[in-house]
Amino acid sequence: MDKDINIKVKVWRQNGPKDKGHFEVYPLENISQGSSFLEMLDILNENLINEGKEPVVFDHDCREGICGICSLYIDGHPHGPDEDITTCQLHMRTFDEGDTITVEPWRSTAFPVIKDLMVDRTAFDKIIQAGGYTSVNTGGTPDANAILIPHDQAELAMDAAACIGCGACVAACKNGSAMLFVSAKVSQLALLPQGKVEAAKRAKSMVAKMDELGFGNCTNTGACEVECPKNISISNIARLNREFLKAKFKD
């Protein structure tokens, strides 16, 4: 049964991108284990506002694991210690009475801290802008059976497309590499006939943008795959390597 627990949260506070930042510990009483992690942070912020202090800044939006905006590195794991969920789906029943929960922002050079726990993830948008799309002249909608796609290919593409671009892979990676994200975005299109047309250009320009933005070199530790809330497989990374090398050898 869910109980009410007393906990401490150790939160990273940083006033702005240039500020040095530090940790602060806040005790919280009678937090229902049935509440979500973000609701717990809401309670913390309400307390802080009532005390006339500045609330903790953190990213959140849909709160149902779809939008990919929530981040937070909780007790040594991106999106917290639970499996295959985003931070907004994490519940307080994962924690016990008397726990001190450490909450940090994503740490990566390519994701600078904006304030407190909020980081700037526009680097991902820039990678998508570099080639994560198909150039289509829109016309009439073709029949669904006009382009045949094998079922397993469609499934693999769909699995890759499950990536919500939250950045947990970069946060988990000791190299600050964005390969899991980029490989998912390249794979979801490379696996389908519509995406094959521009596959070579896409792989090259997205990888070039990724390097330019200061993400690290993948060393296949597999940490990204473990922490990914959407279970994106690192076999996508092998596919990206393949696509990229194929494109380079064609030049």
Partner: protein, 224 residues
Amino acid sequence: MSWLIKSSIGRKFVQSLSGLFLILFLLFHVCMNLVLIFNYETYNFLANEMLGANWWAIVGTIVIFFGFGVHIIYSIFLTLQNRKARGNIRYESSSKTPATWSSKNMFVLGLVIALFLVLHLYQMWYQMQFKELFMIEGARHDSAQLVEEVFSNIWVVILYVVAFIALWFHLTHGFWSALHTVGWNNDIWMKRIKMIGNVLSAFICIGFIAVAVLMHLGYSNLLA
């Protein structure tokens, strides 16, 4: 071709190819070492006639040195870039993401192997090939006997065994990781490649350790 330096996948490509090449070299090396257990004469023949100061052995040595050089220089650059990409502030709660120990310590393991290599090259290669090539006195043609002398010291054997264990950890991650980087991987082959890598690294490292230990204990030159 500048993408082999400028692009992250290009750099990783060079690192994997040089790594795979070095694995081939190790396979050859361990097979040759195993001869020591059976017959010194054959080993000396291989070391002097097949290798020694012949032009093909010199070319081979240069290629192998080049392979090591590329692998080491790239590893330094990759590690420095990765540390920079990670940023200056470490996680307070430290990473609790489960990942294999060797995959997270490839550079340190490589450093151990590189340090061992300096000792190893001085004890063996410098005495056998280098001295002969540059006409330095004391070049050894009784290679097997030289190896026996070196391995008669228990501390040398211990150092070698430590290095081979580090090599084992390095290879278990390195082999599948290299094939992953050249793009040969998917959900089906992942398990097979990891298995092949484990068997390969076990063969290489057990082979090296066996030769060092057996020679120290005197179980060598058995078919003499």
